[in-house]
Symmetry: C2
C-alpha cells in the first residue's frame, strides 16, 4: 500500500499546555494529524457526509495512531441527544425487577443506548431525587416502575421530562406509554385453580393496596370468589414490601381461628414471606396448606414441593417496554399505548386439594 506522508503533520503532543495534564485527543488532534479539517474528521466518524476515500483513510490512520476516542459528552451537548436512557426501579434485589433491568439493558445496548440506573427503594421522595439527576443528564427516554401509581401531578408536564414508559405500575396513566400484566385475569385464574382444587378459604397476600396493580389483583380474586358465592370469605392481607413484614402478616393470618387452607401470594416478596411463614409454623405443606406464588424464579423448582405460580412474562414486559420507548424516541406522537400482557398459571406441586374435601365449608364433616 502506498503510504504517503502528509504535509505539516505536527507531533502528537499538544503544544501549549504543560506536560502535566494529559488530555485525551480530540477531533482537532486527529484533524491536524491527518492534515484535514476537524469537520472532515467528524464527517468520517458520523458518516453524515461523504468523504473522499483517501482522506477517509488518513483520518482512520490518525485515529489509530493517536488513540482517539470520541467524547460523547460533547457530542450529546451539540446534538441535544444523549443516547442514554434512564431505568428506575423500586428494588433491584427483587429478581423480577433485576430480570427486567437485565433484559432492557441488553436490548437498549443493541440499539446503541446506554442505561443510567437508579433504585428508588420503594420511596417516592428518593425516586424524585434520583429522577432529578437523570433528567439533568438529559436522558433521551425513561423506563420507570414507579414507587406510587399516582404520579405527582407535575410529573407528566414536568419540564425536561423525556418520553417515558411506565412499567409494572402506573398503568394507563395519561401521557405515558404503559406496560403491565392483566392483573385481574392473573389472580382470577389463580383463584379458580385453587377453587377447583376444593379450597374455600383462600387468603390473598399483597404488598399494599395503595398500588393499583395490587388493587387489580385483589379485584380479580374477589370477583372470582364472589362469582361462586364465596365473596364473604375473601381475605386480603396487606403485608408490606419486605420479607419479614410479610412473614409476620402471614403468620398472623394462619393463626386466626378460620385459617385459610390456601395462600395466594400476589408478588415475589409475598411468595417468599409466605414460604417462610409456612416453614416457621411447621405446617404440613402442601397438605395442610397450599401456596400459589407469583413471579417465577429459578429456585421455585428446587423447593419441595415445587411451587405453583402465576408467571409474569418478564421477557415480554421488557421487550414491550423497550419497543414502545424506542418508537417514541423516534417520533414523539400523542397517542400513548397501554399494554396488558397475559400471565401464565404454572401448576406444580404446592397447590393441591385441601385435606378433607369440604374442610373449609363444613369443618365437622371433614375426614382426617
Amino acid at each position: 500500500m502506498n503510504r504517503r506522508r502528509h504535509p505539516d503533520t505536527t507531533p502528537t503532543t499538544v503544544t501549549g499546555s504543560s506536560a502535566e495534564t494529559h488530555r485525551a485527543p480530540t477531533v482537532h488532534d486527529v484533524a491536524t494529524r491527518a492534515g484535514v479539517a476537524s469537520a472532515t474528521v467528524s464527517n468520517v466518524l458520523t458518516g453524515r457526509r461523504p468523504v473522499r476515500p483517501e482522506l477517509r483513510e488518513r483520518v482512520h490512520a490518525a485515529i489509530l495512531e493517536i488513540g482517539y476516542q470520541s467524547n460523547q459528552l460533547a457530542s450529546s451537548l451539540r446534538l441535544r441527544r444523549s443516547n442514554t436512557i434512564g431505568i428506575v426501579v423500586p428494588d433491584l434485589t427483587n429478581p423480577f425487577f433485576a430480570a427486567l433491568v437485565h433484559r432492557i439493558e441488553d436490548l437498549a445496548a443493541r440499539d446503541g443506548y446506554d442505561v443510567l440506573l437508579a433504585g428508588s427503594n420503594e420511596d417516592e421522595t428518593r425516586e424524585a431525587a434520583r429522577l432529578q439527576t437523570l433528567l439533568a443528564r438529559r436522558i433521551d427516554g425513561l423506563i420507570l416502575a414507579p414507587a406510587r401509581d399516582e404520579l405527582p401531578e407535575s410529573f407528566a408536564s414536568r419540564p425536561g421530562m423525556p418520553p417515558t414508559v411506565l412499567m409494572d405500575r402506573g398503568f394507563g396513566h395519561a401521557g405515558f406509554d404503559t406496560v403491565t400484566i392483566d392483573n385481574a385475569a392473573a389472580t382470577s385464574a389463580g383463584c379458580r385453580h385453587l377453587l377447583e382444587l376444593g379450597h374455600r378459604d383462600i387468603a390473598l397476600v399483597v404488598s399494599s393496596l395503595s398500588l393499583a396493580n395490587m388493587r387489580e389483583r385483589a379485584t380479580g380474586y374477589r370477583e372470582t370468589l364472589a362469582a361462586v358465592g364465596l365473596g364473604a370469605r375473601a381475605l386480603v392481607v396487606e403485608a408490606g414490601f419486605d420479607v419479614d413484614a410479610c412473614h409476620d402478616a402471614i403468620v398472623a393470618a394462619l393463626r386466626a381461628p378460620s385459617a385459610p387452607t390456601a395462600i395466594f401470594a400476589a408478588n415475589y416478596v409475598a411468595t417468599l414471606g409466605s414460604m417462610k411463614a409456612i416453614r416457621g409454623l411447621s405446617l404440613d405443606f402442601p397438605r395442610r396448606i397450599s401456596l400459589l406464588g407469583f413471579d417465577d424464579t429459578d429456585w421455585m423448582t428446587v423447593l419441595e414441593p415445587h411451587l405453583s405460580v402465576i408467571e409474569q412474562p418478564v421477557a415480554s414486559i421488557a421487550e414491550a417496554s423497550w419497543r414502545l420507548l424506542r418508537m417514541r424516541l423516534r417520533t414523539n406522537g400523542e397517542d400513548h399505548e397501554h399494554l396488558r400482557l397475559p400471565c401464565n398459571l404454572v401448576v406444580r406441586a404446592s397447590t393441591r386439594a385441601p385435606s378433607g374435601a369440604f374442610r373449609a365449608v363444613d369443618r365437622e364433616m371433614s375426614a382426617p
Copy 2:
C-alpha cells in the same frame, strides 16, 4: 417581603428561534430573567464564589419561575468530570451481582454520582464493547467484575481508562484496586466443616477454572483435603455458567461409581444447579447427600432442609469497592489496594454426617 421589579427583565420566551422547538431554559435565560450575568447564575448554583444575597435571591426566583434545570452534559464537558461511574457485571440475573449493583448504586447516589450500568453476559467481547461506550461517556470511575481474570494487556494502560476497581474477579491485578473474598480460606472452612461431619468424598463444583477466584476456591479445597491425607479423593467439577449445564455436570458426578457424599457448590449458580440435580435424582437429601452452598440468598432458608452456605459479605464488598473508588476519584495515587474480605460459614441443615460413618472410606463396612 419586599419584592421589587428588576430593570429590563425580558419575558420568558426566547427571542429568535421559532416557537417550534421548545428548548430547555439555560443559565443565560435565568440570567436575563434575573437581570444578572450568566456567570453570576453559575456562581449561585455552584456556590464556588460568593454572590450578594439580593442577587442570589433574584437568581433563585428566576430559576423557579422559568423552571430552569442545569444541564449536566454541558457542565461535565466544561469540568471534565461527569460525576458518573460505570458498573459492569457479568450477569445481573445472579442475585450476588444484583445485590452488589443495588448497594453500590445506593452509595454512589449518596455521594452525588450516577451509575451507568452494563452487563457483559460473561462474554469478554461484549464486555469490551460495553466498556467502550462507557468510556466514550467519560465516566469518572469504573467498578468492574470482569468476565475474565486476565484483562487484555492494553487494559490498564488504555487511553481514557478511568480509575477502576476490580470486584470479585481479577484480584491483585497491578494497576487496579481490587476487592474480593478470601477464596481459599472460604472453601477451606467449608471443606473442614464437611470433613468434621465425616465426609470423605466431597465434590467441589466451580464454574470454570479459568477464573482465578474459582482456582483459589479449588486450591483451598484441595489443600484441606491433602492436609488430612485425602488429596487423592479431591474431585473438582467444572460446571460452567448456567444452571442447566451445572445440573448436568452434577448429575454425572453423582452417578459415577464412587459418587460423593457431599457436594460443595462454589458459587451461586452451582448451588442452584446442585439442588436441581439432587432433586432430579430424588436422592435422600440431606441423608444420602449433603450440600454446602455459596452466596447466601433469601430462598435458602425456605428450602427444606435449610441450606448451609459460605456467605459472601456482599454489603462489605460493595462498600469497600465504592470507598476505594471514591478515594481514587479524589486523589489518584499509584498505590493500589488489594482487599480480601472474609466469608462466613453458615451451618444450617443441608450438611450432616454421611449415612454410615465411614461409608466413603470403606464402603463394605458401612451400615445402611
